[in-house]
């Protein structure tokens, strides 16, 4: 008699078929290589990236001859010298790093209460609402969202219309540093909340109640218990936001109006406007270097947070 569906779900049957097929394709005795086989695609991808990086490093060591538009055959560090000597690039570097720091701080400040309420609320409707509000922006790409802000914050936009109603003259809300940072914070918030939520879920409500019964008011509970216990989430969220902000292209390009470039914009210009591949490559490596330094510093200071996959905790 064939087992009924309830006793033997279709999912199990499907697995049986797949396992039989896999057995034929990949005999059991090779099974100690299975792990590596499953890693292979990802390793391949990383390898390709590494090759690209090496090529970029190579390109960064050849300068562009502006008369012939040929790259020099000789190796030199001139591109790095140019990048670090010219005020423009230093300003761009500084703007990106400062921006990344400010955006990360603001994003974490906003994401923490949002995530906390989402995790702790007793109302499942509120939780759903917060989740939907979090995911909706994901369906709208970064560029479209930036254009949305152009419309809302523009001279004839919604915000200035509203300001006009209360008698405030039109304000220039776009194409400045705060506008770029504002757009970036808004863009990063969902990432940060999604990275924080699991860490907050992992803090038992009972632990907070315990802090209360031991004499801590909510502020001291937050400071002495919730924040330290949420640290892995804060570190993980912070790392994601820092790296995404440091390398962002669309927000500075659109909301900065060309005057508020980040490193990625400068690199783009070198590769696609002035065609100075060498300088572009040098800037790229500087970006990779700065990013690695920041991430490395955070790792040493705070550990890898949730990115350590729970191994560092317990």
């Amino acid at each position: 008699m064939r087992p009924s569906r309830a006793e033997y779900p279709y999912r199990w049957r499907l697995m049986d078929r797949l396992e039989a097929a896999a057995d034929r394709l990949f005999p059991r005795r090779w099974s100690r290589w299975t792990g590596w086989l499953m890693l292979a695609p990802a390793l391949l991808l990383v390898a390709v990236l590494l090759i690209g990086l090496v090529q970029i490093a190579d390109a960064s060591l050849h300068t562009l001859d502006r008369k012939t538009f040929r790259t020099s055959a000789a190796y030199s560090l001139d591109n790095y010298r140019a990048a670090l000597d010219q005020g423009v690039y230093l300003a761009v570097l500084w703007r990106s790093v400062l921006g990344a720091a400010i955006v990360t701080l603001l994003t974490l400040l906003l994401a923490f209460p949002y995530g906390y309420v989402m995790v702790r609320t007793r109302s499942s409707n509120l939780r759903k609402l917060l989740l939907i509000a979090l995911f909706l922006p994901f369906f709208i790409g970064q560029v479209v969202r930036a254009y949305g802000w152009l419309i809302i914050l523009g001279n004839g936009g919604l915000v200035n219309d509203l300001l006009g109603l209360v008698g405030v003259p039109p304000q220039r809300l776009l194409f400045n540093y705060p506008a770029v940072l504002f757009g970036l914070v808004q863009y990063m918030l969902p990432f940060a909340v999604l990275m924080l939520a699991p860490a907050l879920t992992a803090i038992p409500e009972e632990t907070e109640a315990a802090a209360g019964s031991l004499g801590a008011n909510w502020l001291r509970t937050l400071w002495h218990v919730v924040l330290p216990m949420a640290r892995p989430g804060l570190v993980g969220a912070g790392l994601v936001v820092v790296s995404l902000t440091l390398t962002d292209f669309a927000m500075p390009a659109i909301l900065g109006g060309g005057g508020q470039d980040f490193i990625a914009n400068a690199i783009y210009d070198q590769f696609f406007r002035t065609s100075d591949q060498g300088l572009g490559a040098a800037l790229t490596l500087l970006l990779v270097g700065i990013g690695s330094l920041v991430v490395g510093a955070v790792f040493t200071a705070f550990g890898a947070g949730t990115l350590a996959m729970g191994r560092a905790r317990t």
């Binding site: 038992p204 632990t207 109640a209 802090a211 209360g212 019964s213 031991l214 004499g215 801590a216």
Partner: protein, 385 residues
């Protein structure tokens, strides 16, 4: 209790007025007509009321879902009663936040702070309650010693065994000298040996400090071993509030009789001198006066039924009856028999037998004589109130 109270800095939470208040003879805790309604389903706690004198150890005992935790959380201040009032040291507390009540609580899952060391966990309430910082290390040391964790203060929580973590939680709840200690099944997760050790340990510490304590458990042994008083709860209602001995000897109703110990019930009707069951008069005593002919149940504990292969050995008992052994369960220090009584319509009773030399002699199928005394069977009205 003197040793601990005299050493170390005095806590600042008690001003002179409070001290005078504490010296008064009134109950440390009193619960008056408290209901808790979560909205869905019946009341989680219904009309709970009791007084607990200073320094006493009370256990709330009941099956899962009977409202024990809810009652405890209301006393701790994590939940507000929908009706009634709770008084601690004579003061109504429904408007007092948990962190403003001087209550130490040990949670079921301990709720220790994993990012702090054992010593820091114990220091936490002192810091939160603004004790003099200079006195904190000595005091932490003293309480770690009290729970026999001296020298382990520097360990992180995950570097301690389950029983050691337990002790940290106890020290943390006691170190600020709370008026009241609340325990929500903190021993439930431990293995039996360690649990029994911790029960005695707890009792020792509680006596040493003299702190008023309310413990919640569904382990009847724990309730009987540790407590001065036991409250039995079922479906949100307090069924009985009594000393352990009285609870055991004189259960207030069939639920309590069934919940404590191993109890057999005989169905029948009240008759003069006992219970008429299957045409036979089984001697027993009604708990309250019951009219003859009322449907009733006779409750008798497994260790109060005697059993022997030879009926003559039971000659001194008020009542004797033949039966067949249906099952024999070896429990180590004793053996539990299930004996079918054909004369009572095939009802089975459970019988404890402690004579180890006899264990092998009585096998399923064998005919035996069982018997008991009149005072050992208690009659309750058949419909459980």
């Amino acid at each position: 209790m003197g040793r601990i109270r005299q050493q170390g800095p005095q806590p600042m939470i008690r001003d002179a007025a409070n001290a005078a208040q504490a010296a008064k003879a009134g109950p440390a805790v009193s619960v008056r007509g408290v209901d808790m309604d979560f909205g869905a389903g019946p009341l989680a706690v219904a009309d709970a009321g009791f007084d607990l004198a200073r320094g006493r150890f009370l256990t709330i005992l009941g099956p899962s879902g009977s409202g024990k935790t809810t009652l405890l959380r209301m006393i701790a201040g994590f939940q507000t009663p929908t009706r009634g009032e709770i008084f601690i040291n004579g003061e109504p507390v429904s408007k007092v936040a948990p962190h403003q009540r001087a209550i130490g609580m040990v949670f079921q899952k301990l709720a220790l702070f994993p990012h702090l060391t054992a010593a820091q966990n114990v220091a936490f309430p002192l810091k939160m309650r603004r004790f003099d910082a200079r006195g904190i290390p000595a005091r932490v040391e003293q309480f770690l010693d009290l729970v026999r964790l001296g020298g382990l203060g520097g360990r992180r929580i995950h570097e301690l065994s389950g029983g050691q973590q337990q002790r940290v939680a106890i020290a943390r709840a006691l170190v600020f000298q709370p008026d009241l200690l609340l325990l929500d099944e903190p021993l439930a997760a431990l293995d039996r040996k360690l649990r029994e050790e911790m029960q005695l340990e707890f009792r020792r510490i509680q006596r040493e400090l003299g702190v008023t304590t309310i413990n919640v458990t569904h382990d009847q042994r724990e309730a009987l071993v540790m407590s001065d008083e036991v409250i039995v709860m079922e479906a949100g209602r307090i069924q009985q509030n009594a000393r352990p001995v009285d609870l055991y000897r004189d259960p207030a109703n069939a639920f309590v009789a069934n919940f404590i110990g191993v109890t057999s019930f005989l169905p029948g009707r009240v008759a003069p001198g006992g219970l008429e069951c299957g045409g036979i008069l089984c001697p027993g005593t009604p708990r309250q006066a019951l009219a003859a002919g009322t449907p009733a149940r006779g409750a008798i504990r497994a260790e109060q039924i005697r059993m022997a292969a030879d009926g003559a050995a039971l000659a001194g008992l008020d009542f004797r009856l033949q039966g067949q052994v249906r099952d024999a369960i070896f429990e180590g220090e004793r053996q539990l028999y299930e004996v079918v009584l054909p004369a009572l319509g095939g009802i089975a009773v459970q019988v404890y037998h402690h004579d180890a030399s006899d264990f092998a002699l009585t096998a399923p199928g064998q005919t035996v004589t069982v018997g008991w005394n009149r005072r050992d069977m208690i009659l309750f009205p058949a419909a459980v109130p």
